[in-house]
């Protein structure tokens, strides 16, 4: 982000680099599906969200392979084919992101996303995902009743985000609208490290969804969840880099700057440690120490950016 005046309201557009955290050769496979709307209003809404995600992904760089299915294309066969194709191509160092938009249902046994023709259940989807060797997986199920899919989809290397906490929250959701926004709004990158993680995007969409119901004076009919509320969920999601922005990678490629990078990492670790001890540290002392560390970090970063 160059100009200070743009901070906070600019969109992350052409400079987006997606999912390139693990290695220069890792690929991120994305599948976005927008199911049946049932009514013209929902058809249009779901298709628009899917299209916006698609646009973001298309601008995300060469390491991203994306397929978006909406309208009549969003069939079970096409969805399965897309995932089966990835299963053949993906490697353990790769990442996989599946984003689901639409209406879902839950019969207390299994969850299904409503698609033209036969639906796809959570159990079926889990089986398809299990065949994909990508070492890090993220499923963002933004449909109604999506909470009902958590149990079937959960797996140690897989983060599952759902628009609803349970399968009984059956009303149409707005979470997807804000998930799309999170992928485009610089404000979602709350720690300003030029990476939007799954956790940051989740928190952004979760807060905006909550504010939507508060502002509209409506009873909230959806409560987003990360790994069904599993305590380890946020840790995994925080490590899942969704979007990278700007020049962060450039320094890493320059051997001359390795020492500065190491110093930066050290300073960041010291800052984290001090913040962890904040409650136990006298206010004045904390302020003095954090100020010094932050200033030093700023100087180091300035050197790195030269």
């Amino acid at each position: 982000m160059a100009a200070a005046a743009e901070v906070g309201c600019s969109l992350k557009l052409a400079s987006l680099l997606l999912f390139s955290a693990l290695s220069a050769h890792a690929t991120t496979f994305c599948v976005t599906i927008a199911g049946l709307g049932g009514e013209p209003e929902y058809e249009q809404r779901f298709a628009t969200w899917a299209k916006e995600i698609d646009q973001t992904l298309k601008g995300a760089g060469p390491d991203v392979k994306s397929e978006t299915l909406s309208g009549p294309d969003a069939t079970r066969a096409r969805f399965r084919a897309a995932l089966e194709s990835i299963a053949k191509e993906a490697k353990p160092q790769d990442s996989l992101v599946v984003m689901m938009i639409g209406h879902g249902s839950f019969d207390n046994v299994d969850y299904k996303i409503n698609l033209p023709g036969p639906d796809v259940s959570a159990t079926e989807l889990a089986a398809l995902l299990d065949r994909i060797p990508a070492g890090r997986q993220l499923v963002v199920n933004m449909t109604s009743a999506s909470g009902g899919s958590v149990h079937a989809l959960q797996k140690p290397n897989r983060t599952v985000i759902t628009a609803t906490r349970t399968g009984s929250e059956k009303n149409a959701t707005v979470f997807a609208r804000y998930w799309v926004e999170a992928l485009r709004d610089a404000a979602a990158d709350t720690d300003k490290n030029e990476v939007i993680t799954a956790l940051e995007a989740f928190k952004y969409a979760e807060l905006k969804t909550k504010q939507f119901y508060e502002t509209q004076k409506r009873l909230s009919t959806e409560h987003a969840a990360l790994d069904g509320g599993n305590q380890q969920g946020p840790l995994l999601a925080a490590r899942f880099s969704l979007l990278r922005i700007g020049s962060i990678q450039n320094a890493a490629k320059d051997p001359a700057k390795q020492a500065l990078l190491a110093k930066r990492e050290q300073l960041e670790a010291q800052i984290d440690q001090l913040k962890f001890q904040k409650a136990a540290t006298p206010t004045d002392e904390y302020k003095k120490r954090i100020s010094a560390l932050l200033l030093e970090l700023a100087r180091t970063q300035a050197e790195l950016d030269k």
Binding site: M1, A4, A5, V7, G8, C9, A186, A187, A188, D189, T190, D191, K192, N193, E194, K203, Y204, L207, T215, Q216, K217, L267, E268, I271, K275, K287, I290, S291, L293, L294, L295, L297, A298, R299, Q301, A302, D305
Partner: protein, 723 residues
């Protein structure tokens, strides 16, 4: 409990005894009355037994006994009437009304049943009360209580001459009509007469009858003379310490004036004594919630806001309150004797407790002396409530009530307050709405001399709203045709306890009837095109809305432009402005799209979404000053919007309005944003521009604490630290 002669409900042995009990009460012989009621409880007749328990204030037992009486004699209308009266006394108007209605069905000539229905209607300030009371009198011309009710209703309608005539009729029917005497005494007191014989006359008959003063208290409160109302309620309970209804009113009115400690004590006493109507319990619940409010005091303001939104809303409310006070001091040419207290409730139900039992008060704000209670914008959907307009409205009441010592008709203080809303800013205040159009068209506006009735006892559902509109336009008309100072002259006349008719004649030089004709002619001329075209406009906007869903933009634009100015004040959802904006935008014609929204905003459109779209178009067109002005309007409508403050802060900073930028970026922080780093950083930039270097550094550190690697903040830190 009112004194009621009980007839034909008990077996002969106890009928006389029941009447005797009531007589003892009537003459203030409490001990004898108690003994008498105790005897009644031993009656074999359930209805008589019920009367006994009721007299002893054993309400549950009385209720059970009446239930049994009705079950035993289901055709007896009088039992149902008496049971209904018990329920009415014990805060259950709905079931009481059902019982009175059942009694009427059993015995259509039952005057007491008709009276019961009149009392229920009267409690709810329903216009049917007068008709029902008259009906009761037709059925029983000797029913004094119905006549007393008519006197009371006439005084509620602010027609004291009529009230006097009705009260005198009651006294002819019964020389010991306490309520008749109390009404006459109250009118003397309201007219500031130095003495009145009527309360002494009551006390000569019943030395412990406090209810007469309670009637005075009620009418002083209805006339917004709360301090005096409180005094009369004190007198009432001094005479009748068991009169929990008066004590509850004392407590509530103390609370209204900010005397919370004693108010709470009085209400708690009612509660402890079993007097737990909605007014008492809700008021106590509200007072319990005060621990969640923060109070901010300055020399002339006290602002009370909920903790959860204090950081955000308090600066805006306080600044606007001070601006309004400064303006009104000049306009009304006076200073208030003390600070104004403004209470802002995020929960509308809490605010509603403040207006319970008060007819015709605003649904958004209410004024009690120097205390203003109002809804917080957070309690309503964005775009449905202009909080600043409400604040100015209520503050106008504070001045008018203070200047007139609360001797002012409802129509005038409301009318002037409505006038002030639009005087503060042309886009504030309410627009000409369909209800007002209909009232003008159907000639439903009231004569100025009886306009108060439209507030207190509306005869159709929207009459209160229409009366606000009419009163406001009357004040607009007077200010325009005569002068604003003429309104002040009228205000000072009202302070002398002068009637509307007298004030109109004195200040405007014409009879009220003549004024009505001239005003209506002026109003009709102003609204003619809208009123005449309204029905056609309704049809066409429906077609336009349909057309906008799928029709070509040019068709929408052509049709929209034809009807937009027929009813230019229509700025609700789906307005012509909005449809035209969409159509122009679909054509890629941003200048015209922007022009539609500019008109929408100027007329008073309040949709946050549309106004933010307008600001974006203005910014894109390089009209940053106008964009900032558009967004600033939203601060007065729905300030609970982080994006609004962020954008406005940026615009202010661009334009060198550093203080504005600091305020807006502070509001972002108060909104508890997800993006802490950017929010603190933006505030740091604004503070730096405002030469508050140390504060800026503080914010910068907060930004970096949230996001240590945040480069713009790092750059600024290095810059401010001299590298």
């Amino acid at each position: 409990m009112r004194f009621v002669w009980i007839i034909a409900i008990a077996v002969p042995l106890f009928a006389q005894t029941a009447e005797e009990c009531q007589k003892h009460e009537h003459y203030g012989r409490r001990s004898e009355a108690r003994q008498c009621f105790e005897k009644l409880t031993g009656s074999a007749n359930s209805a008589t037994k019920a009367e006994g328990f009721w007299g002893l204030r054993q309400f549950k037992e009385a209720n059970n006994a009446f239930r049994l009486a009705v079950a035993t004699a289901p055709k007896n209308a009088s039992y149902r009437v008496r049971w209904g009266r018990l329920l009415l006394d014990r805060f259950n108007a709905k079931d009481a009304a059902d019982l009175f209605q059942e009694a009427v069905e059993l015995d259509p000539k039952n005057a007491q049943a008709a009276l019961g229905l009149a009392l229920v209607a009267s409690d709810g300030f329903d216009s049917k009360a007068v008709g029902m009371a008259n009906k009761a009198l037709e059925l029983d011309p000797k029913l004094t209580e119905a006549q007393e009710l008519l006197a009371s209703l006439a005084l509620e309608d602010n027609t004291p001459e009529k009230a006097i005539a009705e009260a005198e009729k009651a006294l002819k029917m019964s020389p010991e009509s306490f309520d008749g005497m109390a009404i006459l005494g109250t009118i003397d007191l309201l007219r500031d007469k130095k003495s009145t014989p009527w309360f002494d006359a009551i006390l000569k008959i019943n030395p412990v009858y406090g209810e007469g003063y309670a009637i005075a208290g009620k009418f002083f409160v209805l006339n917004r003379r709360y301090v005096e109302g409180i005094e009369y309620y004190r007198k009432a309970i001094a005479l009748s310490p068991d009169d929990s209804a008066s004590r509850a009113q004392l407590g509530v009115n103390l609370m209204r004036l900010g005397e919370e400690k004693e108010g709470r004590e009085q209400l708690m006493k009612c509660f402890d004594e079993g007097f737990r109507n909605a007014l008492v319990t809700n008021s106590l619940t509200l007072m319990d919630s005060y621990k969640n409010f923060l109070t901010f005091k300055t020399e002339n303001t006290i602002v009370k806001v909920h903790k959860k939104e204090a950081d955000l809303i308090h600066p805006y409310v306080e600044a606007e309150l001070k601006r309004a006070i400064a303006t009104y001091e000049k306009k009304y040419k006076m200073k208030l004797p003390g600070p104004v207290q403004v209470e802002v409730y995020p929960d509308h139900e809490d605010f509603a407790v403040r207006t319970m039992g008060m007819p015709g008060l605003g649904a958004l704000g209410v004024t009690f002396g120097n205390v203003v209670a109002m809804d917080s914008p957070s309690g309503r959907r964005p775009g449905t409530f202009h909080w600043a307009s409400t604040l100015w409205h209520e503050l106008s009441h504070v001045y008018v009530l203070s200047a007139t010592k609360h001797r002012v008709p409802r129509w005038f203080t409301e009318g002037l307050a409505v006038h002030e809303e639009t005087a503060a800013a042309p886009d504030w205040g309410d627009r000409l709405d369909p209800e007002a159009i209909r009232a003008i068209k159907e000639k439903k506006l009231l004569p100025i001399a009886t306009l108060d009735r439209g507030f207190i006892r509306p005869t159709y559902p929207t009459q209160v709203v229409v009366s606000y509109f009419q009163a406001g336009r009357i004040c607009d008309y007077i200010a325009k045709t005569w002068s604003y100072d003429k309104l002040l002259d009228m205000m000072h006349d009202f302070a002398q306890n002068t009637t509307t008719s007298e004030v109109v004649e004195k200040e405007l030089g014409m009879k009220p009837e003549e004024f009505d004709k001239k005003f209506i002619a002026w109003l009709e001329a102003q609204t003619k095109s809208t009123v005449d075209g309204f029905d056609d406009w309704k049809k066409k906007i429906r077609l336009l809305t349909e057309s906008a869903k799928s029709g070509p933009p040019d068709v929408v634009i052509r049709a929209g432009l034809l009807i937009r100015d027929v009813y230019p004040d229509y700025v609700e959802t789906g307005s012509v402005y909005e449809l035209l904006y969409d159509a122009y935008l679909a054509k890629g014609d941003k200048p015209n799209a922007m022009a539609q929204l500019e008109k929408y905003s100027a007329v008073g459109g309040r949709s946050s979404t549309l106004i933010k779209k307008l600001a974006a178009l203005q910014e894109e067109a390089g009209k940053k000053k106008e964009a900032a002005a558009s967004l600033e309007r939203l601060n007065y409508i729905y300030p609970f919007d982080e994006e609004l403050h962020r954008r406005l802060g940026g615009l202010w900073l661009d334009q060198g309005n550093t203080k504005g930028a600091v305020a807006e970026f502070s509001a972002v922080i108060a909104s508890k944003p997800l993006d802490q780093a950017t929010s603190h950083f933006n505030l740091a930039r604004a503070l730096k521009s405002d030469n508050r270097t140390e504060d800026a550094k503080e914010q910068l550190l907060l930004a970096l604490e949230a996001a240590p690697g945040y480069k713009p903040a790092q750059h600024l830190l290095l810059e401010m630290s001299g590298k």
